[in-house]
C-alpha cells in the first residue's frame, strides 16, 4: 500500500511535540534529493570546542596505560625482566600470559597476537603493557622493564620473502599472443611506498571495567563491531559484557579500521587487571611508529597497442608488502588486483597479484585500499602509450575508456552507471587541458631554443582517469548482511540506529537528510543514535566508501517501511500522525537487512563476475611548476571530476573530493616513509610531512551523477575515488614540464633531478609515432639492460653526476643511502624511544 503526501496540508496542531514537517509534493519525493542543504549535524559542537574526542573524556580515578614495544624487527622473546629495585605493586604489568581469551587480533587470518608471546616479528610490536595511577610512575616503570631477546634473521624486501599472504589472478586470455601482435609494447616497473593516514587525532582508547565483569571502551574508531568482536575473543567475554562506544573521531582514512581493535584489547586488559578505567592515548610518535600504513607495492606492467591506438593487451604483475601480519592485506591486494587494468576496455588482460610478508609493521587500510597503488601504474602506462603513439593522453583515454555494455577483466558487463567518459570530458573542459597542454609545449620549445634566457620554472599539465569499485569487493556485502534501523520512539520522535561512524565525512548529516525526506519531516526532527554497540545494530564497518551507498540505502528502506506502517494505521501522512501513532501503539522500530543487489553475482573461487555492484569514476587534471634546478614541484591546481552516483549533500561530497585530492598530491610529491632494518625512520610529524595550506593546490571539485539503480537514492560513494587519480595526474604533469617519467612515488626533487640527469645521457623518449614491434622501456632507462630496469639496487653513479643527485640516472629507485631527515636518527640498537603514555586527563 502506498500513501502519498497531500501537498498543502496545514501544519500539525501546535500541541503536538514535533517540528513542523516539510511539505513535500508527492511528485518531488525522489530519493536522494536534498530538500535544502542542512548544516553539518555535529558542526556547532566541533566549532565551539564542546565536541568530546577520546582524550577529552574524563573518567575519575582513571589510570594511564603504556605499551612496551620491540626494538627489533625479528627476534625470539626470551623474557621480560622487571627491575627488582622498583616497587611493582604501584603499577600493573600485562603480558601475553594475562590474556584470558585467545591471544589473537584478527580480521582475516589468526596470525597476529595482541601481545607478542615468544616471537617478535616487527619493530614496535607490542610485547607488554603497563598502567599506573599517574604519569610519572608510569614513566619510571617503563624505564625499569627490559625485553630479553635473541635476534633472528629478518626479511625486509617483499621480493625476497617466501611467505605469501594471498595471491589473485584476473583474466584468462592468452595475453602473450596478444602482446606479440601489438605494434607497440610499453613496459614499466613502478614502485610506491608506505603512506601514513595522518589523521590529526592520534589513536586513542579508554577502557572502563563493568560491574558484570566485562568492559566498555570509548575510543577514536571507524568500526565499532570489529572492536566488539576482537574484545570478546581476546578477553573471553559475552557480547553483552562488551560495549564499544565511539567518541568524536578526528579523522580515520582507513587508519582507524583495524588498529583500534588491538588498542582496545590492550586498554581492556589493563583495566581488567587494575580494576580502574585505563586511558591509552597515543602520542604522534608512537602512532606513526606502530600503526598501519598504506601497502608499498611494485607493479610491473606491459601494455600492447596497435599503431592506430587500439588497446590490445595488458599484462600486470603486482607485488604488495603486507608487513609482518596479515591484517586486511588479502582484501587490499584483491582490490588492487581488480583495479590494476584501469578503467579501459581491453580484449586481453592478465593481472597477477601477490602479497608477501616482511619483518616490518603490518600495513593496512588507507583510503583507496590498494587501488591507488595499481591505478598509478595503469595511468603511467596510458600516458606513456600516448607519448609513444604521438597522440594526446586525453584522446587515447577517449578511445579506451569503458562505456556502458563493456566487459571488465573479470567478465563483468558494465550495465549502468558508467561515468568514465563524462568525468574525463568534464575535467578536461573545466581545466582547459588541451589548451594548457599546447602552452606548456610552447614553453618547452621556447626554453630549448633560447638557453640564455631560460626559466628554471617549467609548467606542466597532466591527466589521469580511474574507476573505483563501490562498496565491498565480490560477495563481501552479502556476507556482512548489515542491518540499519529507523525507529519511532514512544514520544513520537524519529531516530536512526546504525553503527556507521562519523569521522568528518558526514554520516551524521546525510542519514537524517535521507530519512527526513522519506518521512516528510524536517531534517532537524530526525535524531541519530550514538555509535554504541549496546544501542545500535551492526551496520558493518565504516569503510570502502560504502556508508552512503549501502547503509544509506538501508536507512532509506527502513524509513519507507516505517512510514508505510504508520500511515497504514493512521490513514494520515506520517508527519502529522506519528505522535498519535506512538501514543496509541507505542514505539515502532524497523530493522532493514542488506539484500543482494539484483543481478550482481561474483564467483570468489574463479574471481569471475561482478567484482562490485557498480563503480565510481574519477578524473583529475593537475597543473604543476617544476624548478629544473632544484627539482622542486609546486602543484598549482587540480581539477577533479568525480561520478558519485548521487551527491546527497554536495558541499560534504565536495569536501571529500578536495580532501582526497590533497592526500593524493601528498602521496605524489612529499609523503614518504624511510626504513632502516624494518624501523620507520621518520616517525615524527617533524619528519613525516603532509601538505600545508601553502603546499596545497587550488582544487576544483566537479560532481557528476550517474545514479546506481541498486541503491534507492542512486549514491555510489565518494570517499576513496579522488585518491586514485591525484598522484598519476601530478606525475604526468611533472613529465610534461621536464620530459622525464618518475616511476616511483613520491616524485621527490632527488628522483626528478636523477631522472633528468639520466635523460641528458640517454636516448630521448620517442616523440612521434613509432615503428611496428617497438618496445618502449622505462623512460630514462633507454640504453640500459633489463637488469637495470628491474633492479632496486644502486647502479654505478654516472660520471660527473651532480652532487645533489647521489642516486643514479634513471628515475628508478634512487634510494639515497644517506638519510635526509633533519631529526637525529637513532641506531636500531639504541634503547627504545619513549612511547606515549597518554596526554590526557
Amino acid at each position: 500500500m502506498t500513501v502519498t503526501t497531500r501537498p498543502g496540508r496545514s501544519a500539525p496542531s501546535p500541541t503536538l511535540d514535533v517540528p513542523a514537517p516539510l511539505v513535500v509534493p508527492a511528485d518531488e519525493t525522489r530519493p536522494g534529493r536534498a530538500t535544502g542543504l542542512p548544516k553539518r549535524r555535529e558542526g556547532p559542537e566541533k566549532l565551539t570546542g564542546v565536541a568530546k574526542y577520546a582524550d577529552d573524556l574524563v573518567f575519575p580515578g582513571a589510570w594511564y596505560g603504556a605499551t612496551i614495544r620491540s626494538t627489533e624487527a625479528h627476534a625470539r622473546l626470551l623474557g621480560i625482566d622487571l627491575d627488582p629495585s622498583f616497587d611493582w605493586s604501584r603499577v600493573v604489568v600485562v603480558t601475553a600470559k594475562d590474556i584470558p581469551g585467545e591471544n589473537i587480533v584478527s580480521l582475516i587470518s589468526d596470525d597476529q597476537p595482541a601481545l607478542a608471546a615468544d616471537e617478535i616479528r616487527h619493530h614496535a610490536e607490542p610485547v607488554a603493557l603497563l598502567a599506573a595511577p599517574d604519569r610519572s610512575t608510569l614513566r619510571e616503570a617503563k624505564r625499569r622493564i627490559r625485553l630479553r631477546t635473541e635476534p633472528l634473521p629478518a626479511v625486509f624486501d617483499p621480493l625476497e620473502s617466501d611467505q605469501e599472504f594471498a595471491h589473485f589472478q584476473v583474466g584468462e586470455g592468452d595475453v602473450e599472443a596478444a602482446l606479440a601482435a601489438a605494434d607497440v609494447v610499453v613496459e614499466g616497473e613502478y614502485r610506491v611506498g608506505h603512506q601514513e593516514q595522518l589523521y590529526i587525532e592520534n589513536q586513542a582508547m579508554i577502557a572502563v571495567p563493568r560491574e558484570d565483569g566485562g568492559v566498555t571502551v570509548h575510543g577514536s574508531l571507524q568500526c565499532p563491531y570489529y572492536i566488539h568482536k576482537a574484545l570478546k575473543r581476546a578477553l573471553a567475554l559475552d557480547g553483552d559484557q562488551t560495549v564499544v562506544v565511539q567518541a568524536e573521531t578526528g579523522g580515520g582514512f582507513g587508519g582507524k579500521e583495524e588498529y583500534p581493535s588491538i588498542l582496545a584489547i590492550h586498554a581492556a586488559l589493563l583495566a581488567r587487571k587494575c580494576g580502574k578505567p585505563v586511558r591509552m592515548i597515543y602520542d604522534r610518535h608512537e602512532d606513526l611508529a606502530a600503526t598501519t600504513k598504506r601497502h608499498p607495492a611494485i607493479v610491473r606492467y606491459r601494455t600492447g597497442v596497435k599503431r592506430d591506438g587500439t588497446l590490445l593487451a595488458q599484462d600486470v604483475e603486482l607485488i604488495m608488502d603486507g608487513g609482518a601480519y596479515c591484517t586486511l592485506t588479502p582484501v587490499v591486494l584483491s582490490r588492487g588486483t581488480l583495479h590494476a587494468g584501469g578503467p579501459y576496455r581491453c580484449p586481453d588482460t592478465r593481472i597477477r597479484g601477490r602479497a608477501m610478508a616482511t619483518n616490518t609493521p603490518p600495513n593496512g587500510a588507507f583510503r583507496g585500499f590498494g587501488a591507488p597503488q595499481t591505478e598509478f601504474a595503469a595511468e603511467m602506462q596510458v600516458n606513456r602509450a600516448a607519448e609513444a603513439l604521438g597522440v594526446s593522453p586525453l584522446e587515447l583515454r577517449r578511445m579506451w575508456v569503458y562505456r556502458e555494455g563493456d566487459t571488465t577483466p573479470t567478465g563483468q558487463e558494465l550495465r549502468e552507471s558508467v561515468g568514465g567518459e563524462e568525468v574525463l570530458e568534464r575535467a578536461a573542459e573545466a581545466s582547459g587541458f588541451e589548451r594548457l597542454r599546447t602552452q606548456t609545449r610552447l614553453a618547452r620549445e621556447a626554453r630549448a631554443s633560447d638557453r640564455g634566457a631560460r626559466s628554471t620554472r617549467m609548467p606542466g599539465i597532466g591527466l589521469a582517469l580511474a574507476w573505483h569499485g563501490a562498496g565491498f569487493t565480490g560477495s563481501g556485502e552479502v556476507k556482512l548482511a548489515s542491518v540499519a534501523s529507523v525507529e519511532l520512539t514512544a514520544d513520537g520522535s524519529v531516530r536512526i540506529l546504525t553503527a556507521s561512524t562519523e569521522m568528518g565525512q558526514g554520516t551524521k548529516t546525510i542519514f537524517p537528510q535521507l530519512v527526513a525526506e522519506q518521512l516528510g519531516v524536517a531534517y532537524e526532527a530526525v535524531a541519530i543514535a550514538p555509535q554504541d554497540t549496546s544501542i545500535v545494530p551492526d551496520s558493518g564497518p565504516t569503510v570502502a566508501s560504502r556508508t552512503a551507498m549501502v547503509v544509506g540505502g538501508l536507512v532509506i528502506r527502513a524509513a519507507q517501511r516505517l512510514r508505510q506502517q504508520v500511515e497504514h494505521a493512521t490513514g494520515r501522512p506520517f508527519a502529522e500522525s506519528a505522535v498519535d501513532f506512538a501514543r496509541e501503539h507505542g514505539p515502532l522500530r524497523v530493522d532493514e537487512r542488506f539484500e543482494p543487489y539484483p543481478g550482481v553475482h561474483f564467483d570468489d573461487e574463479r574471481y569471475r563476475g561482478d567484482a562490485y555492484p557498480c563503480y565510481g569514476w574519477a578524473a583529475a587534471v593537475a597543473e604543476v611548476d617544476v624548478d629544473t634546478d632544484t627539482g622542486e614541484v609546486t602543484v598549482r591546481s587540480v581539477v577533479a571530476a568525480d561520478d558519485v552516483g548521487k551527491a546527497i549533500h554536495p558541499i560534504l561530497a565536495e569536501g571529500q573530493v578536495e580532501g582526497g585530492t590533497l592526500q593524493a598530491v601528498g602521496y605524489a610529491t612529499i609523503e614518504e616513509i624511510k626504513l632502516d632494518n624494518g624501523r620507520y625512520l621518520n616517525d615524527r610529524l617533524a619528519t613525516y610531512i603532509i601538505p600545508t595550506s601553502l603546499d596545497a593546490p587550488r582544487i576544483t571539485a566537479i560532481l557528476v551523477e550517474k545514479p546506481f539503480s541498486g541503491a534507492p537514492h542512486g549514491a555510489k560513494g565518494v570517499g576513496e575515488l579522488p585518491m586514485d587519480v591525484g598522484a598519476p595526474a601530478v606525475v604526468a604533469a611533472i613529465h610534461d614540464a621536464t620530459g622525464v617519467w618518475i616511476h616511483e612515488l613520491p616524485a621527490t626533487p632527488e628522483r626528478i633531478l636523477a631522472a633528468m640527469a639520466g635523460v641528458g645521457t640517454a636516448q630521448p623518449a620517442p616523440a612521434g609515432p613509432v615503428e611496428p614491434g617497438t618496445l618502449i622501456g622505462q623512460a630514462g632507462h633507454a640504453g640500459r639492460g633489463p637488469e637495470a630496469e628491474t633492479s632496486s639496487g644502486t647502479p654505478d653513479a654516472p660520471p660527473g653526476a651532480e652532487p645533489n643527485t647521489e642516486a643514479p640516472v634513471g628515475g628508478l629507485d634512487p634510494r639515497p643511502e644517506a638519510l635526509t631527515d633533519p631529526e637525529p636518527l637513532r641506531a636500531p640498537t639504541d634503547p627504545p624511544q619513549r612511547w606515549g603514555e597518554d596526554g590526557g586527563g
Binding site: 565551539t48 558526514g506 610529524l685
Partner: protein, 156 residues
Amino acid sequence: MTEVVYRFTVNGQPVELAVPGMRRLLDALREDLALTGTKEGCGEGECGACSVLVDGAVVDACLVPVCQVDGSDVRTVEGLATGPEALSPLQEAFLETGGAQCGICTPGMLMAARAFLDDGAEPTEDAIREAIAGNLCRCTGYTKIIDAIAMAARPA
C-alpha cells in the same frame, strides 16, 4: 620549595594556577582548567591543533610553558562564540562552507583565522593560506577553510 602562582586571563576570565612553571600551557588549559577545546595533535609544534592566542599572537600551546603566559591574555576556541547558542560570524562561516570535517584541527584553525582577521590584512587567498600555514588539516584540502575565512572577512 615555594610554589609560584601564575596569574593570567583565559577568554577574559582571571586565572590563578599554582603549577610547575614549565608545565605546558596545553596541559594547563586541558587538565587544570578543563578547557578541552584546544587539541593535541603532535606535541612538537608541527600541526597547530593546539593553537591559541597569547596577547593576540597565535602560538602552539604545546610549546609554551605556563610561566611564559604569566600576566598575559590567553584566548581559546571556547571564547569565540558570543553565547551558548550563538556562533561567531567566523564559526558560522566554517559551518556554512563546510570548513570543518572531522573537527580536530578546527579549534586551532579558528584561532589562527581569528588572529588573521583581527590583524585586518587584505583577505586574499594567498594571505589566508599564509595565515593558516602552521595548521595542518588532513580532511578538507584547505579549500573550504580558505572559503570560510574569506567569507568571515567580508563586511556583513
